[in-house]
Amino acid sequence: MLEESGSEGPVGIGSGIAAPDVGVLSAARADTPRPMMVLNGVSKSFGQMQALSQVDLEIYAGEVHVLLGENGAGKSTLIKTLAGIYAPDAGEILLDGNRLALGGPSDARRAGISVIHQELALVPHLTVEENIVLGREPRFLIPGSIDRRVQRETARRALELVGFDGDPRGKVANLTTARQQLVEIAKALAHRSRILVMDEPTASISERDATNLHAIIGDLKRRGVAIVFISHRMREVFELADRVTILRDGRKILTTLPDATTPELLIKAMVGRTVGSFYQRLERFVAGEVILETRALCSAAGLVDMNIVVRSGEVVGLAGLVGSGRTEFARAVFGLDRRTGGEVLLHQLPLPADPVRAVRSGIAFVPESRKEHGLALTKSVCDNLTLPALWKIFPHGFRSRRRAAGVARGLIERLRIATRSTRQPVRTLSGGNQQKVVIGKWLPIEGNRRLIIIDEPTRGIDVGAKAEILKLVEGLAAEGCGILMISSELPEVVGFCDRVYVLQSGTVRGELSGAHLTEEAIMKLAVHHDS
């Protein structure tokens, strides 16, 4: 299935890369004699999942230290350990040579560590100002009361740094995602931190905002702040990084200087094998008859005049920035959001806005958020795997546990879902296996001209699972299904889709295929030029 690049373990790969390991301080940083922070053999596990094992890391004042790694490599876990959110199982953290005991996030803050987490950590019904000082409210006379003048001043200064142009006294709930991200950054900057950790801060903001952020980072660097930065954007990594550390499967593979390596080498170290045609489809199929067609579809959630066609055997991508309306399109087709205009045709017939009808007519919908929309976490693998197909498996309405378990067992074997029994609660599965359940539950509904909508199929899952899932999707296309794939990972979109619609502000900005289908072309269509 996956071509292994010859080397076996992580160590082998690390040594197979022709880049100097500068994990131990080298002459490259002679001006900063002592690391500000040192991690020694930090390990952390969640149940049987070893998220970090024996990680050593050094962070210097005034450097941008980029952490790279595939999804699930342990980057977020590492910084949550730094932030005092997780207590490491083993190892120690030293700050200025002194052992740091982090009892909780507030200890980390007191030590001068600020973190921008991967998930937005803002409170929707508090104002921008209030969010910025959350947890560190300036005291007014007596403990517990808030000095709102100082609060305003603090917020103003922080917002200025990030170039926020909105109303600092408006509720955060009323801001766009990009602006919320700026607030999040301002929140971390508001307090004079010595170490600023940013977990994928640029994942969901426009190029312009990202450039802005890079300028801010440069500024902080000059003032001696150490910055730990996580990103999947290679170009950004090379622009920003003073040093790069690669994590894989919870282990530190190496630390290197950007000048001493190339993106290809970094990716190889991250993934543990030559990537080659990783995202590439094995075969392309001839597109058959039209399965789905929307005509000027508008929805209450903000879609305007969406025209999209999906044919049998075709993988059609929907690309766009966060908030561009990709998920909303899927929801409108499936009948979850109220349609306010236009029509949806499935096999040339109008499809009413009703999820029950949608499923019975052969549409499968794999939502982007597994935990919220995809799985009943407390219920078993079997219960989840048989849910959408209950009516198919038990046409007479009577359920037999044996039969259900049989179907589930078949799917578990077919998809290689790692579970101990069909009765294990899905809550206890790993993310990739959970994702397999979310997709696998649609398989018992057979029929070869189905429409399969997959929203962010590979978000947050590990390499092996990712490949398996994409292979599964490809198999469905081979059977003649029409696939509508929403993905934020551009390489995946470019490598995997036959045709891509690019959305912006709830409408289609362009359609790309063949040689025109490149990451650059997508980005060009996706970004707002006015904002």
């Binding site: 996030p105 409170v123 959350l134 517990g144 808030i146 959630a301």
Partner: protein, 326 residues
């Protein structure tokens, strides 16, 4: 629990905007419609005497509804507050009869309320039990204790101080109304001017964000229940001032009126979205409705129907106003 029911009834992720949720729509609509209506049809409704009446009748409910607002903001629910008020009233009355002074007896009553509140808070915050279940259980316990302590009887013969206290007026406003106004002021300050209040809003809105900011979410959860209990203890003083006796069942069911008032006032069971002054409007809406129907002389059975219909009608209006997706 409600929060969870509310949670599952909304499909959209937390990202979706709530731009149409106008503040306290329900209570405002009720007041805007009812006040003129009663003004015309219920003789004496707008007389100063009757307005003071409404304020007086609403004062104790407000004392229960204010902390209930905090509890609901944190996606909780306190079903025990009515029974707690009754229990604290019995305790207070027994102490007064035994010759203790009003302040001492009140503090003792508040301590009892606080104790129960801490029990509620501990079970919810530390053991992760659903608030509905916990407070339903403590409701039973408090009510049983009240009945047992009072031996089913009202505790009376509280002495002249309490009468003097309840007769106190300032600019024509009865002492209970003054207390209610002061209580609103305090809760307003706590909710909007202190870190604690801010954390209350944050817990409901995004508990994870608060946790990441280094604040103990458990403590906030526990504290709102503790406040609710202690306030019920204090409300017992007002109740005693009004009834001149400690009744073991006097406030039974009042928690439901309080919940209704909070929700009418625009605080929703989701995401820390609330407005404290809306609770005042909600309490007034209920007070005005009951008062007006009494003035008109509407039969009890129809009053019941009217209140139920009002709750459902307000929900409908709000649903229509916030309709975004099917």
């Amino acid at each position: 629990m409600i929060a969870d029911i509310a949670r599952i009834s909304r499909l959209r992720g937390s990202r979706s905007l709530n731009f149409l949720s106008s503040k306290a729509l329900g209570a405002s609509v009720v007041l805007i419609i009812l006040v003129p209506l009663f003004g015309v049809f219920a003789g004496g409704f707008l007389s100063p005497h009757n307005l003071v009446n409404i304020a007086l009748q609403s004062s104790i409910l407000l004392l229960i509804a204010l902390p209930m607002t905090l509890v609901i903001l944190t996606e909780g629910l306190d079903l025990s507050s009515g029974a707690l008020l009754s229990l604290c009233g019995v305790v207070l009355a027994l102490l007064l009869v035994a010759g203790y002074s009003i302040p001492v007896a009140t503090l003792a009553a508040m301590a009892v309320g606080l104790l129960f509140g801490i029990l509620n808070g501990f079970c919810v915050a530390n053991l992760g039990m659903p608030p509905f279940v916990v407070t339903l259980g403590t409701l039973g316990m408090a009510q049983g204790l009240a009945l047992a302590l009072a031996d089913g009887n009202a505790v009376s013969g509280l002495g002249p101080e309490i009468e003097a206290f309840s007769a106190f007026r300032f600019f024509g406003l009865p002492v209970l109304v003054l207390i209610a106004i002061a209580a609103y002021g305090i809760f307003h300050l706590v909710l909007y001017r202190t870190t604690f209040g801010r954390y209350v809003i944050a817990v409901g809105g995004n508990a994870e964000a608060l946790r990441l900011s280094g604040v103990s979410v458990r403590l906030v959860h526990g504290a709102v229940f503790a406040i609710s209990g202690a306030t019920a203890g204090f409300a017992a003083l007002c109740m005693i001032a009004r009834t001149n006796a400690g009744h073991p069942t006097i406030a039974l069911g009042m928690e439901f009126d309080a919940i209704a008032a909070v929700v009418l006032g625009g605080t929703s069971f989701e995401r820390g979205n609330g407005w404290l002054f809306g609770t005042v409007l909600g309490v007034l809406a209920i007070g005005v409705l009951r008062n007006g129907l009494n003035l008109i002389g509407v039969d009890t059975s129809l009053q019941l129907v009217a209140i139920g219909a009002l709750v459902i009608a307000v929900l409908l209006v709000e649903r229509l106003a916030s309709e975004r997706s099917v």
